[in-house]
Amino acid sequence: MGFFDDKQDWLEIVFRNYPPENRRAAVMPLLRKVQQEEGHVSPERIREIAEILGTTATEVRGVMSFYSYYQAVPTGKYHLQVCATLSCKLAGAEELWDTLRAELGVGPGEVTPDGLFSIQKVECLGSCHTAPVVQVNDEPYLECMNRERLRALLEGLRAGKPLEEIELPGDCGHEVRKEGA
């Protein structure tokens, strides 16, 4: 069965965002949907999307592979993305990454045997003042990460807690301001 077969209403809504003669503009939302629900975008899904959009699988793959969010290989239930750019690096992103690798025993492109975790280094997430930053799947950021907060996160996820219910111990260790003072 096609992934989108039972999502015709959803497709309808997505297509409303673009001029009818530019159906292929919807390629990114469709890819995102597949990525969100299946953890990666398989060649079959690429074909399916191409068909829905009236374009070729080559074009869809060209677009898909351009972005770092869409994955060609399966990811874990929780795909942990660690920002590795300057501010996060200066705030310990490398240690964070190493800890994560050690704790989970996986490298990029791999999934833990229980299917729960996969990891990826990503570039600046736009939260440099709360570095280092981790994003789980497509969820809001986890900020000012350190070893303790990371452990608590993994524990919570392993215990099957929803992300927003997991308490991360401590805080940034410094004030963070975003309001206009």
Partner: protein
């Protein structure tokens, strides 16, 4: 301090607008927004101003694009054709991916109606009845709040048909990115939105002639468009009394790195680094040796009195051999190795290179990254710095879009002010800084 131009956040005449509500509970809801004067600027403009009058007002304000390049916004809007019978588009660039920048995010998270109101105004001015907000894919909370706000706005008639009874229709859509810095470049953004690979497009034709879906289009940064709300509400004179000559209005500055209170600060254009870092961000938590003034592509400056007393605006920073960029200040602590810092940044630009043009794909993403990595790992050779400088010459100004330049500038800045660190790496065959694990 109460005469002349406002160039300090301490000036009693200065009042926060863009971030006035950021961080307040429920500030993202329509009720809150309406309770704080929301949509009055749009109502006023649509009721009593012609589109050209809005453009004139923006021109008079001296507002320049806050996305990094600083192009005069009113002038850009005036490039849009008039009465050509075509669909026009206004796009809000919320791709915010330049390392060190995170100002747009909170507008969208905590004050999305401000962005929507700005889009209505901009759309009205350039005669666009459709708008897109291109938001980077990772901004999940901002996306959720934005979509909810748009729904609310539609439900209560602030979007859709015949806004404020003016006869002006405006539809607003949100398109999510998926992790590609280049999508912040306006023409790459349009390609991305059209479902193509996000390589920058040729200019001309400029977006105002042939933009999104081949139609006349204007693209502006979130902060730029949000600023318009206040320009219309309070008048261009109010805006123009802030800042220096050609750098007007308020600006969202960001501080990251070991400041006491890193974060976003809305201050008048031309506020000094010293005021930003010490007065507002509470000073530094450890010794600092350099700062990156406006997002990672701007050349770093040594952390000294001269730099600290520099007003943060387009002209003064250009005089110092750097740029205002996005106003994202990154503090580089003493303990950090500049070679490592630069390698990290060049690696970032290399990773984000779209691959279209040779100097960026091969020069930045291929060669420069390898050379800097080699030096950082202590395998540099005599002559490497000269080679790097020659490569920079062969890249700078020769690429298709400014991304490659954005990789070149930080290297130039670092070599100008911290060449000795590079030399020591090469001479000693290792990083001279004791590298302790960050977490001890």
């Amino acid at each position: 301090m109460s005469e002349g131009f406002i160039v300090s956040g301490h000036d009693p005449r200065f009042e926060r607008t863009l971030y006035a509500h950021v961080g307040r509970p429920d500030a993202h809801t329509l009720d809150y927004y309406l309770g704080h004067g929301g949509y009055e600027a749009a109502r006023k403009a649509l009721a009593s101003m012609t589109p050209d009058e809005v453009i004139e007002e923006v021109k008079r304000s001296g507002l320049r694009g806050r996305g990094g390049a600083g192009f005069p916004t009113g002038l850009k809007w005036s490039f849009m054709p008039k009465d050509d019978g075509q669909q026009h588009y206004i796009i809000m660039n919320a791709d915010e991916s330049e390392p060190g920048s995170f100002k747009d995010r909170y507008i969208l998270e905590d004050d999305p109606h401000q962005a929507i109101e700005g889009m209505i105004l901009a759309g009205y001015a350039i005669r666009a009845t459709k708008g897109y907000i291109y938001i980077r894919g990772e901004y999940r909370r901002a996306y959720d709040r934005l979509v909810a706000a748009i729904e609310e706005a539609y439900a209560r008639g602030y979007l859709g048909k015949n806004l404020f009874g003016s006869g002006f229709d405006f539809d607003l859509y949100v398109h999510r990115g998926a992790g590609a810095y280049i999508c912040g470049e306006e023409t790459a953004l349009m390609n991305s939105l059209e479902g193509l690979r996000a390589n920058p497009r040729l200019k001309p034709p400029f977006p105002a002639q042939k933009g999104l879906f081949g139609k006349p289009t204007t693209i502006n940064n979130v902060e730029t468009i949000a600023s318009v709300v206040h320009i219309v509400a309070r008048g261009s004179d109010w805006f123009a009394q802030m800042g220096y000559d050609k750098s007007k209005g308020m600006k969202l500055y960001q501080v990251s790195g070991p400041a006491v209170r890193p974060g976003v600060y809305e201050l008048p254009m031309g506020t000094t680094f010293r005021e930003l870092i010490y007065d507002w961000a509470g000073g530094v938590r450890e010794p600092i040796k350099a700062l990156i003034p406006g997002g990672s592509s701007t050349p770093m400056l040594p952390f000294n009195d001269d730099t600290l007393d520099t007003p943060m605006d387009y002209e003064h920073l250009a005089e110092k051999g750097s740029m205002l960029g996005t106003g994202g200040v990154i503090l580089i602590p003493e303990r950090a190795c500049v070679v490592d810092v630069i390698w990290n940044l060049v690696r970032f630009y290399g990773h984000e290179s779209c691959g279209k043009c040779t100097p960026c794909r091969e020069g930045v993403a291929g060669w420069l990254v390898k050379l800097l990595g080699q030096i950082e790992r202590g395998r540099g050779k005599p002559g490497d710095l000269e080679l790097i400088e020659d490569l920079l010459d062969n890249i700078e100004g020769k690429s298709f879009c400014p991304l490659a330049d954005a990789a070149v500038w930080p290297v130039r800045g670092a070599l100008r002010h911290f060449r000795h660190e590079f030399e020591r790496h090469i001479e000693e065959g290792r990083c001279p800084l004791e590298k302790k694990g960050f977490w001890g």
